[in-house]
Symmetry: C2
Subunit: 110 residues, 2 copies
């Protein structure tokens, strides 16, 4: 019986990025602070899951939630320094995808 022996920090990072939608949310926020509905429509996530993820990411200090007291109130999500620092990861993924993912044929080639 052997126990998994991967660095716990690495594992934590992986489990963060392996959660559906997290990477995409961070990616969106790299373009600047955004509101709930903007994020939702731009990545096509359900309100429920977005709400979960935002709480989760906030608790991990990756994003911050700001209440801007305009009327009506505006709630703005943005990256913290820690969140910003993930840009390098997202860029690597982007580069890799451009180099290696082939555009998906719509299965229409007859």
């Amino acid at each position: 019986m052997k126990l998994p022996t991967i660095c716990p920090k690495f594992e934590k990072a992986i489990s963060l990025l392996s959660q559906r939608w997290t990477a995409l949310i961070i990616y969106q926020l790299l373009m600047g602070p955004q509101r709930f509905n903007e994020i939702q429509t731009s990545i096509g996530i359900s309100g429920k899951v977005l709400s979960d993820r935002l709480k989760d990411l906030e608790s991990q200090d990756i994003i911050k939630r700001e209440v801007i007291p305009e009327t009506p109130v505006i709630i703005e999500y943005s990256l913290t320094e820690k969140g910003q620092s993930m840009e390098s990861i997202l860029k690597e993924i982007e580069n890799w995808s451009q180099a290696w993912i082939k555009p998906d044929s719509k299965l229409l080639e007859d």
Copy 2:
């Protein structure tokens, strides 16, 4: 009504990495070819899901499955060139995790 407008290649890469276990499997295989049970015990994944993932990754040409006709037969999984090329992504994640993830307190600090 606005449609999500993220680059499909990037999205595909993200959805690949957002699948639980995929990143960890690739990470393991970066250390060299491995057999089913080795992967399973090293990352602590269930046989069922590992089996699913390996098929999936094989179909995406990220890993290859080789039957080595020893007796008994050995089945070895290894990265393809495409799979190997993901090393940069995994390394970025590793670096980031070292810099930004704090070791998780075991909740034991009294």
